[in-house]
């Protein structure tokens, strides 16, 4: 297993574009801290975002994992191109001739995807911890380490998304087209959901219940948007007379759905590679 990771690390470490993208990704995650310094000075009203409680434990785990997950596209580009470049440079063929089996090839890629997700999760954990310790109103250990399931969900979500990218890279063989397809897939999911919701199952929960099994939807469902959970927003809503009632929690079955999709994408990648003549 270490050999496979070493092989993939060797392929990535000399690629300048991969290095730049990975670096950008991690730098951008640290930029979440910059949100803290956003300030509005509207005459008498002085509004500082950091004071709105977004960095309070344990809410920060939810907020940061949601924001950081938006940046995953940077790593997605790296992953899609590390798959499709093997086709365009025809190095996949050479790898196989040199004695790498097709199973090992997929394993090395998936291991890399997992390691990327793991590093990103650990990095986010450290960044959030530092941010929280500097700005949070509560710093009791029991509060700091509550809601840790957001970190698990973040890891599972990233792994699932990257496994999807890996599959697209193999399926389409060209980075740009694979990324385009990813976008089209996302639109397709929305269209199918729209049709289900407004045409077929009007006024019922069925459409939502089906849509949460879609690959991208299931991933985005894992960590829901955290903004309406902010006390400021909540208060505003109550004043207008509407109560925001939303389930922000992470449920085991949502995790299972994403994990199953991950397994499906890895399996399909392998089947596809096995079937193809190079």
């Amino acid at each position: 297993m270490l050999r496979l990771l070493e092989i993939e690390y060797h392929k990535l470490r000399y690629s300048r574009s991969a290095k730049i993208l990975v670096l950008t990704y991690f730098i951008l995650i640290t930029f979440i801290a910059l949100i803290a310094s956003i300030e509005f000075n509207l005459g008498a009203i002085n509004f500082r975002v950091a004071d709105q409680g977004i960095f309070n434990f344990p809410y920060i785990w939810h907020f940061n994992s949601y924001i950081a997950a938006l940046l995953k596209l940077f790593l997605a580009i790296v992953i899609v191109s590390m798959m499709s470049n093997e086709y365009t440079n025809r190095t996949l063929k050479q790898n196989l001739i040199d004695g790498l089996s097709k199973k090992e090839f997929i394993a090395s890629k998936f291991l890399t995807v997992t390691v990327f997700s793991l590093i990103s999760t650990l990095f986010l954990f450290v960044v959030s911890l530092i941010l929280g310790l500097s700005f949070s109103d509560f710093t009791e250990v029991s509060i700091i380490f509550s809601d840790m399931e957001y970190m698990i969900a973040y890891f599972v979500k990233l792994t699932g998304f990257f496994a999807f990218c890996m599959f697209l890279g193999i399926l389409i063989k060209r980075s740009a087209f694979a990324l385009g397809f990813l976008f089209i897939w996302w639109i397709l999911e929305s269209i199918v959901y729209g049709v289900l919701k407004w045409k077929i199952f009007r006024d019922s929960e069925i459409a939502d219940n089906i849509a949460r099994f879609f690959p991208l939807e299931s991933m985005s469902n894992l960590i829901k948007e955290p903004f309406s959970r902010l006390s400021a927003v909540q208060t505003a809503a109550t004043q207008v007379g509407s109560e925001i009632e939303k389930d922000y929690g992470i449920h085991w079955y949502q995790l299972i759905i994403v994990i199953i999709w991950t397994a499906i994408f890895v399996f399909l990648s392998y089947k596809l590679l096995k079937k193809r003549d190079l």
Binding site: H10, S15, R16, N89, R90, T91, G99, E104, D277
Partner: protein, 301 residues
Amino acid sequence: METILSLKDLTKKYGALTAVDSLSFTIEKGNVYGILGPNGSGKSTTLGMVLNVVNKTSGEFAWFGGNTETHEALKKVGAIIEHPNFYPYMTAVQNLALVCKIKDVPSDKIEEKLEIVNLLDRKDSKFKTFSLGMKQRLAIASALLNDPEILILDEPTNGLDPQGIHQIREIIRKIAAGGTTILLASHLLDEVEKVCSHVVIIRNGKKLYSGPVDAINASHGFFELQAKNMQLLQELLIAHPGIENVSEKENVVTAILKEPMDAETINEYLFEKGLSLSYLVKRKESLEEQFLELTKQTSSA
């Protein structure tokens, strides 16, 4: 003798097209083999199948007696296919280090192998800056990294300039002299003739011949002769029982043999009859002539 690779009824179909048709042959240790055939005759497909990149339709092949899985066996093989494939953004050394990791061999032989192919001075240049000839030489270095039991080369001189072709051939000859088993696929007959001891000839995916190069057809070779009296020379040669056919072209008489005969024998025979030669050479048909003969035989049969 130790068998390195054996093919049994190996077949590849692309839809209705049969690219390789029940091909069987064996590769023994220590020989230099050529797979010969016109473009599109199924050479590369055959190599693709035994190298794990093309899925076979039916039939069997076995590496080293068939006790290891194909991808494990390939670690003991060095192979390059038509076009050298490396990571363009890595240098020669970085690319070779990656191959070492894949093949599970230590990377201390990189410089030595780069030396063999004369690329040591360019070892830290990126692959994308290499000329085709250099890329091809790097591919050979990469195939040698594991000191392979067998070196497989698919059209190694394709697209190279004469100097590049010469360099590659010299390298192959050096490697062959070291006792490495080589399997060389080519459509260039003189290339195979120059380096191979055995040959497998295929056409339209079917095997026409496999065996030693000099036993392709039962020919005994021919003499080329010259004398002052060309008329008499021809008459005497026709009268000799061991000669099948005599022809003259550009003042050289060619006498094709019916049975094995030394140059001395014919020289003595002619001298006894009172004719002295100014030129005498015994030759074998070139592989090209034999190959054409063989393909002609099968197409008329």
